[in-house]
């Protein structure tokens, strides 16, 4: 008769190294900022670049978060996500142009109200479009990645062309609301006001999203659905409805990001979404598909990297982000904070 091997449970703590490993990604952003400080000769330009990098990262995060959740929850890869950005920008900017008297006035309150109206209009429109997109384009191809990629790409082409039909092929130039023009000066560094607004807004959204995901019942269901969808359905939740909700929310966030990005660039084109998608893919991949925190860190890294390198060596800006992606994938092939278990 054989005895069971001896393995009494031990109460020893995991080694410090193992406990710290999940925290490493969070240290990357400060590390990059410090690296920037060393590499960039003048402190004031470093500060300017850091703020604009953070602003860019926040906006990318807003646009990318929906995509990463949709993938995590339902294993749907949406290549047409970029089109919500374009549609959001066009609707939002059209509303802003209509509210010209409010944006031209030098009052911050009026400006912000106009922006709020524009953002709400854009989010409603892109949310509705997201719902339709899910219904018509994505629903018939669940479970087939290849077809998902192709079909959502086709959807992107069609909606982009429809934007051109409705708004014309020319790019639209715009100016920011009066009170958000110009810059404020800190320690000799000029920081554009609008970028500060973008940083604040992004931070608020991230914290709100984290709160919803961590401390509400819907968030619990979403997180559980990412972890093990079948089990959640077996417990009686209609994951399908949750998924549609997440898809709509993600599209609406992309629309919001589109308005912010349009105001940041001060020009919008029908192809803008497609162009930003490149950065969004990088962010989603290095963050780990399905992880909101990873997406946040990834977006900040990409934003900072882009701005620092564009200052030091303009031609390498986009390549540097590819380099970042390669480095992170060599370190963690599933992304920084992998959530979805090998689907």
């Amino acid at each position: 008769m054989t005895h069971a091997p001896e393995h009494a449970p031990r109460m020893a703590q995991a080694a410090l190294r193992d406990r710290l490993a999940p925290l490493i990604p969070f240290a990357l952003v400060p590390l990059l900022v410090v690296a920037g400080l060393i590499a960039i000769p003048s402190t004031s330009s470093w500060l300017t670049l850091t703020v604009s990098g953070l602003a860019m990262g926040m906006m990318i995060f807003i646009m990318a978060s929906g995509m990463t959740l949709v993938f995590g929850l339902m294993d749907v890869i949406n290549f047409g996500h970029g089109v919500f950005i374009s549609v959001g920008a066009f609707i939002g900017i059209t509303v802003l142009l209509m509210l010209g008297h409010m944006t031209q006035a030098p009052s911050l309150l009026l400006n912000l109200t106009a922006m709020l109206v524009a953002v709400i209009a854009a989010m409603l429109a892109t949310g509705a479009l997201g719902w339709a997109f899910e219904r018509v384009i994505v629903k018939p191809v669940y479970g087939a990645h290849l077809k998902q990629i192709l079909v959502t790409m086709g959807g992107l082409i069609v909606v982009e062309q429809l934007i051109i039909v409705l708004w014309g092929p020319e790019e639209i130039f715009l100016t920011r609301p009066e009170a958000l023009k110009g810059a404020v000066t800190f320690w000799g560094a000029a920081v554009e006001k609008y970028r500060l607004v973008a940083v604040g807004l992004g931070l608020v959204l991230f914290l709100a999203m984290r709160h919803v995901l961590r401390h509400t019942k819907v968030g619990l269901i979403v997180r559980a659905g990412v972890e093990n969808g079948e089990m959640v359905e077996a417990l009686g939740y209609r994951l399908r409805l949750v998924f549609v909700g997440v898809f709509i929310a993600g599209s609406a966030l992309a629309g919001l990001g589109g308005v912010l990005w349009g105001l940041y660039q001060e020009v919008i084109t029908a192809h803008m979404g497609q162009q930003i998608m490149v950065l969004i893919f990088i962010v989603v991949i290095i963050g780990g598909l399905g992880s909101v925190e990873g997406c946040f860190i990834g977006a900040l890294l990409v934003g900072l990297m882009q701005n620092y390198v564009a200052f030091l060596e303009p031609k390498l800006a986009l390549i540097s982000n590819i380099g970042l992606m390669v480095a992170i994938l060599m370190w963690r092939p599933q992304g920084m904070i992998p959530v979805v278990k090998a689907k």
């Binding site: 290849l146 082409i157 490149v278």
Partner: protein, 351 residues
């Protein structure tokens, strides 16, 4: 003989065989059947795109891998010829070196990308290729001292391939000059590459690829190294795409970001593969021929239609000749849902 040339992969449908035969004859005798600069140009474009689309189909239709970097590989071949012809001077050796270097570089880059993304998850590949391809496109337009930037490069190809080289008077309506030779260089190169691809997909290697497409988990369990096969398919596909790019560069005598690297070409390739039929090399022939003809002649029809509905709201805008991509996009989505096997699959089913 023919069966052997086609690697035993026959059209398996009378209608398809007739159409393919017609396309082959039309392309083989294009300069004599349709004399005129524009129609020969269209024929050369069709030849190049057949190879390009077929090589993409090796990845997408046979391997089940979605890549958005195919224009990048195409462009590498084209820029290979352009750069070598600019730097080594006019000559056959420059052309050959450029083509081979381009193909090797494309295969090497495909290998690297495959190593990074296919190892983890096949869908990473789609996103990473999109990112890399757009970065390369930006880089090419920025490094204007080497690549000519947005303006592109114009260069000289061997004199025997230019209109200035004449070796006789006109024959059956076609001018016997270097341009004719250039067309036949493109045509025979394309035909050779297409037959090689047909050989590849009907080899044991191609069979394994199809098995992986159907069920990669089971293929791995049977003992095939899925990553190695997928990476191999990507490399072959990239190299052939680069060679197609070289042929295009030889024909155009010009390369620029818009003609060989733009994302629009990628969308064209996708449309051609899906509409022609994924997973059949003949789908590439049908898709490329249809789409190139449509691009050249559909816009005229749409312009007429747009003028016909003038005065109605929105309709004229929807039918504007510049909006042809809208209709192709709709066709693309519909064909994925209703004809996932494309034109070729349809024709084969009817047998």
């Amino acid at each position: 003989m023919i069966v052997k040339l086609l690697s035993g992969d026959l059209p398996r449908s009378t209608v398809l065989a007739v159409i393919l035969g017609l396309v082959f004859i039309a392309l083989a005798f294009a300069p004599f059947l349709f004399p005129g600069v524009r129609s020969v140009d269209t024929a050369a474009r069709i030849c190049v795109f057949i190879v390009l689309v077929a090589s993409y189909d090796l990845m997408l239709g046979y391997g089940g891998i979605v890549s958005f970097a195919h224009t990048m590989f195409f462009g590498m071949g084209a820029y290979g010829v352009a750069l070598s012809s600019t730097n080594m001077g006019r000559g056959w050796d420059a052309m050959l070196t450029g083509s081979l270097t381009g193909a090797l570089a494309a295969a090497a880059l495909a290998f690297l990308i495959g190593l990074f993304s296919l190892r983890v998850r096949a869908i990473f590949f789609a996103m990473i290729t999109l990112a890399v391809a757009s970065a390369v496109a930006v880089l090419v337009s920025q490094l204007s001292s080497i690549t000519g930037g947005e303006d592109g490069l114009t260069y000289l190809i061997p004199r025997e391939l230019t209109p200035a080289f004449r070796f006789g008077d006109s024959f059956l309506g076609a001018n016997l000059n270097g341009r004719l030779l250039a067309y036949y260089l493109v045509f025979s190169g394309a035909l050779l590459l297409f037959l090689i691809l047909l050989r590849v997909v009907n080899s044991p290697f191609g069979r394994v690829l199809q098995a992986i497409r159907e069920n990669d988990f089971r293929a791995e369990a049977v003992g095939f190294r899925v990553v190695a096969y997928r990476t191999g398919a990507t490399c072959i596909s990239a190299a052939v795409a680069a060679l197609a790019g070289s042929l295009y560069a030889i024909w155009l005598r010009y390369v620029g970001p818009d003609t060989v690297l733009s994302f629009d070409i990628m969308i064209d390739i996708l449309l051609m593969v899906v509409i022609g039929g994924m997973g059949t090399m003949y789908g590439a022939v049908i898709g490329a021929t249809l789409l190139v003809l449509a691009q050249n002649y559909l816009q005229g029809i749409m312009g007429t239609a747009s003028r016909a509905v003038e005065g109605l709201p929105i309709l004229p805008d929807l039918l504007d000749p510049d909006r042809w991509l809208l209709w192709l996009g709709v066709l693309f989505v519909l064909s994925i849902y209703f004809f996932p096997t494309g034109v070729v699959g349809r024709l084969r089913m009817q047998r």
